[in-house]
């Protein structure tokens, strides 16, 4: 596009880069030959264009020559495109009126034939003239920010992120699908490598979150749908009926006593029982009973209704209905956590057939002072104290053939902790660990592992177990000791499987709503594996905790705080700036075929059924141009890289 029909006055500055360019490319000839190229009103060369005098030369020339645009033939645009755009701004030009011709990295440095390299440089410069001639002046797209955040999942990562964001001074919605916040961490007994009690450090965090004036806790809520974009999300949240009024419930427990329905207790991993109306655990937040409708006999008074009868404060309300709550937020933290891989998948280990073969979280509950055994180590089948406990690492981890390819990272450490805690509880018992490698790459981890071996007599056997079965009241384990080259058979009283960590069950639905990508194992994908580890590629979404991949508590907390800090960065901006080189639609040309709509990976394009044209959300468009290539009518044109620009550049390169 020309400037209001007026021809652009374009300047050319060819850089010598000392001898880096000039020794191969005849820079003077480039400048000279280009003098007569259409629209070039000024052409020169200089030894270091990026130096202060070089920049001053450009600045002065723009003013003297009244340039509308200019080209710097120099190094790769990744190095100094920004430098020269700033020069343009200083001179009052729009930065999109600057183009760089790369004649160093893709010119002088890779070629030896001076004549050919010079000819190539001229062609590259010509193509950039063609481009800049049609460049539009653009301003960044500015977006308002709604300075409220939503955190999905209230385990330790979600709670930490919520507290940090709230401490920045922003409002936070903390959404949790379960009746209480706390996640898996509140289930743990003691934590490695310090052996401090998990509930003792977790409960204050939970209380802090619940008391924080900027945090709104929404337990028993699920995200129903999300629309909008970074800074401006509209969220619909489903409030599941609890059938108990949170504000009225005094946690007296009368309802629980009369409830006739008994089901397995999830908090204790099914090792104990709860009623259909229940408090998940004593420290639950919010402190209120919840009626689990799937287990309830039915709420018509004719069928049961006993809980309602005995409830003194009249907190039980059978008429509660599902509600949809709409909220507006500017950023979202996804901290949906993990689950353990199912033991059913390990048929050779009995696949949940044997009561005394338990997974790591079950053993945490057995060890926990608040657990079903009150902290005594008793095996589930007969309540006896197991005298020999075998721990098996890498159950379902590091097994690309049959299970999960990755290392679950925390099992080495929690197995050492389990063995140690077992020995502390049962000093005359034996703890044996089967391992492949012991990975202790955290602060004070190796010392902890060595302590288990040296001070607590935990026997480590290097070899993966092949089979577990029951014989009488003993569990038989077939393993091998690869260090001596012997097959090992152990008779144990109890077996603890360090099951792999896997993505949360049924998380796919939520992720589809959020449009967040995962890796092949279902863990949330970060925007860059090294440089952007807490952001999603989808702008406005941040990752924290094990939803992103297996990690221990300190790493989880660090990532949660990092996500909160990133949100602080986002909210500190007055307006969000967005690259304007997007692909709008020329509604005159658009036939409404809709081909570009599914091509867009960001959902930025929608077909307006009434007007029969495609509408573009400029904020969502990242400017890849895939839609422009797909558009059959030419209505979708990328700003400053239109088809016409590409054609004229190709022509300049090949015919020039």
């Amino acid at each position: 596009m020309s400037n209001n029909g007026k021809k652009k006055r374009i300047g050319l500055f060819v850089c010598h880069c000392g001898v880096n360019i000039a020794s191969v490319v005849d820079v003077e000839r480039v400048a000279k030959e280009m003098e007569n190229y259409p629209d070039i009103t000024f052409s020169t060369n200089y030894v270091y264009m990026c130096s202060d005098p070089g920049q001053q030369l450009i600045l002065d020339t723009i003013k003297e020559q009244k340039l509308d645009a200019f080209i710097v033939a120099a190094c790769s645009p990744t190095l100094h495109e920004k430098t020269f755009q700033d020069v343009a701004k200083l001179a009052g030009l729009n930065p999109y009126q600057v183009e760089i011709a790369n004649i160093r990295e893709q010119g002088s440095w890779v070629h030896t034939d001076k004549e050919k390299a010079t000819q190539k440089a001229i062609k590259v410069v010509k193509s950039m003239v063609e481009k800049v001639r049609a460049n539009e002046s653009l301003d960044p797209i500015k977006i308002d920010v709604n300075r409220r955040a939503m955190v999905i999942g209230a385990g330790i990562s979600g709670i930490q992120a919520a507290i940090d964001i709230a401490d920045h001074g922003y409002e936070v919605l903390l959404v949790e699908k379960d009746p209480s916040i706390g996640g898996h961490m509140i289930q743990l007994s003691e934590t490695f490598p310090t052996l401090d009690c998990s509930q003792c450090i977790m409960t204050p965090k939970m209380v802090e979150a619940s008391r924080h004036p900027k945090i709104k806790i929404m337990t028993y809520h699920e995200v129903e749908s999300i629309s909008g974009f970074v800074g401006n999300f509209n969220v619909r949240i489903k409030k599941k009926p609890r059938y108990v009024d949170e504000d009225l419930c005094t946690m007296c427990g009368d309802c629980e006593e009369v409830c006739p329905q008994v089901v397995q207790d999830e908090f204790n991993m099914g090792l104990s029982y709860r009623k259909a109306i229940y408090l998940p655990f004593p420290q639950a937040i919010p402190g209120t009973y919840t009626l689990d409708i799937d287990s309830c006999l039915g709420m018509w008074p004719v069928r049961c209704g006993r809980c309602k009868e005995v409830c003194e404060p009249n907190a039980i309300d059978y008429d509660q209905k599902e509600e949809i709550i709409e909220e507006q937020v500017g950023a979202i933290v996804v901290s949906t956590g993990y689950d353990l891989y199912t033991m059913k998948a390990l048929g050779e280990y009995g696949g949940e057939k044997y009561d005394d073969v338990v997974n790591g979280l079950e053993f945490e509950r057995i060890l926990s002072a608040s657990g079903p055994t009150g902290g005594e180590v008793l095996r589930p089948s007969d309540g006896k104290v197991p005298k020999h406990v075998v721990f098996i690492q890498c159950c379902g981890s590091r097994d690309p053939e049959n299970h999960n390819p990755y290392c679950s990272r925390i099992c080495c450490m929690y197995t050492a902790k389990h063995a140690m805690l077992y020995k502390h509880r049962v000093p005359d018992g034996n703890a044996t660990v089967f391992y492949i490698d012991v990975r202790t790459g955290g602060k004070r981890f190796e010392e902890f592992y060595q302590r288990a071996v040296e001070e607590d007599d935990v026997l480590y056997i290097r070899g993966k177990v092949s089979k577990i079965f029951q014989e009488g009241d003993k569990i038989i384990i077939w393993g091998s000791d690869t260090l001596t080259g012997k097959k090992i058979e152990v008779e144990a009283d109890m077996v603890v499987l360090a099951m792999a960590m896997v993505k949360s069950e049924n998380i796919e639905d939520l992720l589809k709503k959020l449009k967040i990508n995962t890796d092949e194992s279902g863990w949330l994908a970060e925007a860059h594996p090294k440089l952007r580890p807490v952001e999603s590629l989808n702008a406005g979404f941040y990752l924290a905790g094990c939803a992103h991949g297996p990690k221990d508590i300190p790493d989880t907390v660090a990532q949660a705080s990092a996500a909160a800090a990133k949100i602080g960065d986002l909210f500190a901006q007055e307006k969000l700036l967005h690259e304007p080189t997007i692909v709008p639609v020329n509604e005159e040309l658009c036939s409404g075929c809709g081909i570009c709509v599914p091509v867009c990976p960001y959902g930025a394009r929608t077909l307006d059924m009434e007007e029969k044209v495609v509408k573009v959300n400029e904020v969502l468009c990242e400017g890849c141009g895939a839609c422009a290539a797909a558009c059959p009518s030419g209505a979708a044109q990328q700003r400053n890289q239109t088809d016409d620009q590409i054609f004229s550049m190709v022509k300049a390169i090949l015919k020039g």
Binding site: L346, G347, E348, G351, K353, K467, F469, Q470, E471, G472
Partner: protein, 315 residues
């Protein structure tokens, strides 16, 4: 015609023709009752028993491919076996021909040179179609589950087997190698249990159901094989079984015929009856006792089936 029999190709394999006629006879009789007329592929040979594990020993695929080609020539697209070894070799041959173009080419190059002579007319056949690996190979357990259906079996039961407390023994070849070769999950199989339940047996769990019996090591390393077999029978006993059900003639040899060796090596061993699944099927379908060939067993299975033991007590 109500009693019209369905024709079905059946590959018995060598061992069934001589050493384990009880397996062959009970299979034939049961299938007859279930409405099938069994046809053996003409001029069948040994399948080779062991599938060649060496990528370059392709000649071992020629015999099973030839057998399957014959089924194809006779106009059929499926064949069933009861011997686990034959099942494994035939099925793996198909897999190799379907997935490995080089093996396909070389096997068919061998088979191209076949000459078939009709000894009566002295006619020679030298033209054969290529074999592409497309005849479906069933084990009878699979065929019952997928084609006959347990409902039909249950509707035809004549005897009550609920007093028989039995464990299924899969062995290796029905379950492994894992993947396409396996008739069920290698470490969590249920097909054999389902079969036994549907013919009315009381089925017990048994952790050694997929352990190896020692296979051909009973020739080269007899003590090792004996110990392996003993462990299986011991576990069956510990889990409360009256008998072990199986499908493989070699497992049968190791677990039943060699119980005298087990007894020598492990003095406390008291014997454990072993039955082919087809014997149980035939018995449940009301077949008379003499067809079952129970007298061929080393460890008497009569009492398990509730028959007065007419043979001498061997253990």
């Amino acid at each position: 015609m109500e009693n019209k029999k369905v024709k079905l190709h059946y590959y018995p394999g060598c061992t069934l023709k001589e050493k384990t006629t009880n397996l062959d006879d009970s299979t034939r009789k049961s299938m007859e009752i279930l409405g099938y007329e069994l046809i053996e592929p003409e001029n069948w040979t040994c399948c080779g028993a062991e599938f060649p594990l060496n990528e370059e020993k392709i000649i071992g695929l020629a015999a099973p491919a030839r057998i399957l080609r014959q089924v194809k020539i006779e106009g059929e697209d499926k064949v069933f076996t009861v011997c686990s070894f034959c099942f494994n070799v035939l099925k793996r041959t198909n897999e190799a021909l379907l997935t490995d173009p080089l093996k396909y080419k070389r096997v068919n190059a061998y088979l191209k040179d076949d000459i078939k002579i009709n000894h009566e007319t002295k006619d020679k056949t030298t033209e054969f179609p290529e074999y592409e690996g497309d005849v479906k190979v069933y084990h009878l357990l699979e065929f019952i589950r997928d084609e006959i259906g347990y409902d039909k079996i249950r509707s035809m039961l004549k005897r009550d087997l609920s007093n028989i407390k039995i464990v299924p023994y899969y062995g290796c070849r029905l379950l492994r190698p894992k993947g396409n070769m396996s008739i069920d999950e290698p470490d969590d199989p249920t097909i054999f249990e389902e079969f036994l339940e549907n013919i009315g047996c009381t089925v017990l769990d048994f952790p050694f159901k997929q352990e190896c019996c020692g296979s051909y090591l009973s020739v080269s390393m007899p003590e090792a094989a004996t110990e392996a077999s003993y462990n299986i029978l011991r576990s069956a006993k510990l889990n409360g079984a009256d008998a072990v059900a199986l499908s493989c003639p070699l497992c049968y040899y190791n677990l039943d015929r060699r119980q005298n060796r087990i007894k020598e090596q492990f003095l406390e061993f008291m014997g454990m009856p072993v039955l082919f699944f087809t014997q149980l099927l035939a018995w449940a379908l009301g077949v008379e006792e003499k067809i079952l060939g129970l007298d061929q067993h080393f460890c008497s299975p009569y009492s398990v089936l509730g028959i007065d033991d007419k043979s001498e007590v061997k253990i």
